[in-house]
Amino acid sequence: MSRFGTGAVVCAKVARWLAAVLFGATLGLATLPANAEYGDVVLNRASEKEGMRPVIFPHWFHRIRFRCKVCHFELGFKMRAGANEVKMNDIIEGRFCGMCHNGEIAWAPENCDLCHSGKRGLPPGIFGGHETNGPGRW
């Protein structure tokens, strides 16, 4: 009886381990990025309509230089890709990106191509990670 019990426990353990490995593998596959760096954000609500390439915002580049709170507290960027309506006028007038991209802290807005560098047709959203602006890909 006890032997049977131990066998069942071991079986359950192996099954759980297998399930964990399979789950992990699925996660790995599901989140394989289209090579985008983790946390890259595409802004393309207005860009292409206005005849510009979509904007690619790299979180990795910015977080080396600024803590999250600078943009997500001081500048008022909401923490969900797609929740911020950022227009060029805001930037030129010093709001949102324009707080730094003013030619003093970072390049000025007339360097259009440095931000508007994305492929045409890209949907707005966060890349390289899981989707966070709606139900996940699980």
Binding site: N35, A36, R53, F127
Partner: protein
Amino acid sequence: MMQLLILLRQNFPLLHLLVAALALAIAPAAAPQNWQPLENDGLRDPASPALKLLQQPAAALSTLPPDTAGNRVRWVKALDDGHINPRTNLRAETKVQTYDKDVLLDLNGSMPVVRFPHRVHTLWLDCSNCHDHIFKKQRGATKISMFNILQGEQCGLCHGAVAFPLTECSRCHSTSRKDAKAELAREAAEAAEAAQAADVSLPKAGAK
């Protein structure tokens, strides 16, 4: 050369194991594809003039403490060890707040208890980024669930998007239930002792 190897092997039978372990240890470091060049990232237009000017991820990230997930960078370690010193504020009048208190969460779940460290979160974030609209400050007042987190709510607003991904279970579920319960009991005892001490030091109302 062969003779030398055989000689080494005879004298150090575990050498081949050691070599294998070394090879395994070196392999991830030698894997070249940690960071894709911008021109291959699937996002940038290959015709964009920006590609010649923008910093490449590998140039910036390969110098920071390595990780296996997300940006392959231990961001908190990079900050703590002084590899990076990102600005905390732009305006001089902005109050930069930090807070150092670990909170134990998920005490009765099936996974190890979550230790939420305020310190590392407030190094990056302001209190108002999470409180009170996502998490109420009062312990236990907000029901937190993996279901919400996997949907990109609660912790999943950042973890899975820019902060380390949700594949790294044990980085949050890090504390054994026994240790967590002992820690909470210790804290409660200390709080009771402090309250008692305060009570004794105060002159009793009506006592003459």
